[in-house]
């Protein structure tokens, strides 16, 4: 599968299959990332759909200095934050047209490893920032530079944030009865 950038370029050139590829490639990951902010898988899926709809309608210019995933997740984060600011549900049309999955389905589809699944579920008990940075590190496997771009922090802040988030995750896993090894 080609990367998201080429798919988006194809879409911008009029190939709607490029858009389908983007949705297929990034929908679950974006939904789970947004869920670290929204802490509601259904709203997170709505927000993710809103991000894709924005790509389709407004066709924003892709910044090639970052990876397409970083750029897309940045849009997702901003969209989620705007949603929280507005604090209202106005995505009913999207709900009507999109299939909204259960969180477990998404997790099961996106996170294949049992251990990662346990970790992902433990992230929900953490602070939003901790869960975001750990999700981006362990599930999206993004670099510190990309994470700093998405979260709007510098790389040192991201490293400190990852350190503290790991400590919090370890405590949460211990509380859940696991050995806390991640």
């Amino acid at each position: 599968m080609e990367n998201g950038a080429s798919s988006y370029l194809r879409f911008l050139n009029g190939d709607k299959e490029g858009f389908v590829d983007i949705v297929r490639q990034y929908k679950d990951g974006l939904t789970l990332f947004v869920n670290t902010i929204m802490n509601d898988i259904h709203i997170s899926e709505e927000v993710a759909n809103e991000v894709f709809l924005r790509l389709y309608v407004k066709k924003p210019k892709y910044k090639s200095e970052y990876s397409f995933k970083t750029w897309l997740y940045t849009i997702g984060k901003n969209t989620a934050l705007n949603y929280l600011k507005k604090n209202r549900r106005n995505y009913s049309s999207i709900e009507d047209c999109c299939y909204i999955s259960d969180e477990q389905d998404i997790e099961a589809d996106y996170i294949r490893s049992e251990q990662n699944l346990l970790i992902h579920r433990a992230l929900k008990a953490l602070k939003a920032e901790y869960s975001q940075v750990l999700y981006l590190v362990y599930f999206e496997e993004l670099s510190h530079a990309d994470i700093s771009e998405i979260m709007g922090k510098n790389e040192k802040q991201v490293r400190d944030l990852i350190y503290n988030a790991k400590k919090a995750l370890k405590a949460e896993l211990e509380r859940r009865g696991t050995n806390g090894q991640i």
């Binding site: 709607k16 858009f19 389908v20 949705v23 297929r24 929908k27 759909n49 894709f52 709809l53 389709y56 309608v57 049309s93 999207i94 047209c97 999109c98 299939y99 999955s101």
Partner: protein
């Protein structure tokens, strides 16, 4: 089709709906904008076209009904209308009682003077310096009649309309004179404010060499004017044409439709009187020679006034009550004393102050034949000598000490 394809398809369908809605709105906005733009453009085109096709706006004459703007020969008829209108107003003034007539005349003159000032700068230049003066204006004013004998009935109506151009001066005058030779001396005073020479026309009959004259007015009653012109006492002061003392030649317009052709008038200087103060104009066709007193004249010193107006030559005094003290007590004072007082103050500068701004402690009544109206010198203990000889009046400062000494000298102390 997997769930991602379904989701993408539903997103694309929703996106297409949003895009089509945006496109529809954009087209609607474009249509509205185009309609507004076309409408505005149409209005602009109509406005510009109307403006272009509109004939040039003619200059509006001053609001005063007695002022008529005219240019050279072509507007003679329009001037005629205005002059006649003014004549009617003047006639009304003339028929009033003496006291009321005087008041009315003053106010009328005041009214016209404001308009006259707008024109005076150019028109005066046209007459005196013979430089460029293109504007022409006609102004008529009031007529005042003072009859000393109850038997004498004099009604004088005079309207003067003048026009000045670069090298010629045009004057239109309309007259309606109902005059009869009085059996007793009659003083008739007529004045006009006309803009082109900006002089007050003064024409006044006097008893002279045993003859009585009713008027020196301008108009169609030429026979009377011939007589007056030939025997008017003022003519003795006028240089003859052959002596080449005339100032310039002017064109005049007879407001009578039967005499609409322009005619030549001649402006004469008066013997012993500065042209800055007064001149006489002789209208051969209508046989009239009114004297014009310059309304803007403002002497710098009392000596200049005495010289320019020829007072030493023409001024006489009312011997019955030549000097009035505090507006109450009248005394006879010898001419020599009055002349000496005035001569002693020749260097006094004109302050331009209004006579109402200081006390009137002593009044010298004078009679200046060619001016035709009563004149006075007022001495104030506050140090001023005021006179109404000039149209604007003049206040000369002589100092309190000298004023007191002048008053005491005139009173014979």
């Amino acid at each position: 089709m997997d769930k991602y394809e379904k989701c993408a398809a539903s997103l694309m369908r929703l996106g297409d709906e949003i895009l089509s809605e945006k496109k529809r709105r954009r087209e609607m906005i474009l249509r509205r904008t185009a309609a507004v733009t076309l409408g505005t453009a149409a209005v602009l085109v109509i406005g510009v076209t109307t403006h272009v096709l509109k004939p040039p706006k003619k200059p509006v004459p001053p609001s005063s009904g007695i002022i008529t703007e005219t240019s050279a020969v072509t507007t003679a008829e329009a001037v005629t209308t205005e002059a006649r209108t003014s004549s009617a107003a003047s006639s009304l003034t003339t028929t009033a009682s003496t006291a009321k007539t005087s008041t009315s005349t003053e106010s009328h003159t005041t009214t016209t003077r404001a308009a006259e000032k707008q024109q005076s700068s150019t028109t005066t230049t046209a007459v005196w310096k013979q430089t460029t003066a293109t504007s022409t204006t006609a102004t008529s004013t009031a007529t005042e009649t003072t009859t000393s004998s109850p038997a004498a009935t004099t009604a004088l109506t005079q309207t003067t309309t003048s026009a000045a151009t670069l090298e010629t001066t045009t004057t239109t005058q309309a007259l309606t004179t109902q005059a009869s030779t009085p059996s007793s001396p009659t003083t008739t005073r007529a004045s006009w404010d006309i803009s082109f020479p900006t002089y007050t026309t003064t024409a006044h009959p006097h008893a002279y060499n045993g003859h009585n004259y009713t008027t020196v007015s301008v108009g169609n009653g030429t026979e009377q004017y011939v007589k007056v012109l030939a025997e008017c006492p003022h003519m003795i002061h006028i240089y003859s044409k052959t002596q080449e003392h005339y100032i310039k030649t002017a064109f005049i317009y007879d407001t009578d439709a039967e005499h609409s052709a322009p005619e030549t008038a001649t402006i004469y200087s008066l013997d012993g009187i500065s042209e800055r103060f007064a001149v006489m104009m002789y209208y051969p066709n209508i046989q009239a020679a009114p004297i014009y007193v310059r309304t803007e004249y403002e002497p710098e010193t009392l000596g200049e006034l005495l010289d320019d107006t020829g007072l030493s030559k023409y001024m006489t005094f009312d011997y019955d009550n030549a000097v009035v003290l505090n507006d109450e007590e009248s005394r006879h004072v010898k001419d020599e004393r009055i002349t000496k007082v005035l001569d002693d103050c020749r260097s006094a500068a004109n302050t331009g102050k209004n006579a109402a701004s200081f006390s009137h402690d002593l009044t010298i009544k004078t009679d200046i034949s060619y001016i035709g109206y009563d004149t006075t010198f007022i001495i104030s203990k506050e140090g001023y000598i005021f006179t109404n000889i000039t149209d604007k009046g003049a206040s000369f400062y002589i100092g309190e000490e000298k004023a007191l000494s002048c008053i005491e000298y005139l009173l014979g102390k």
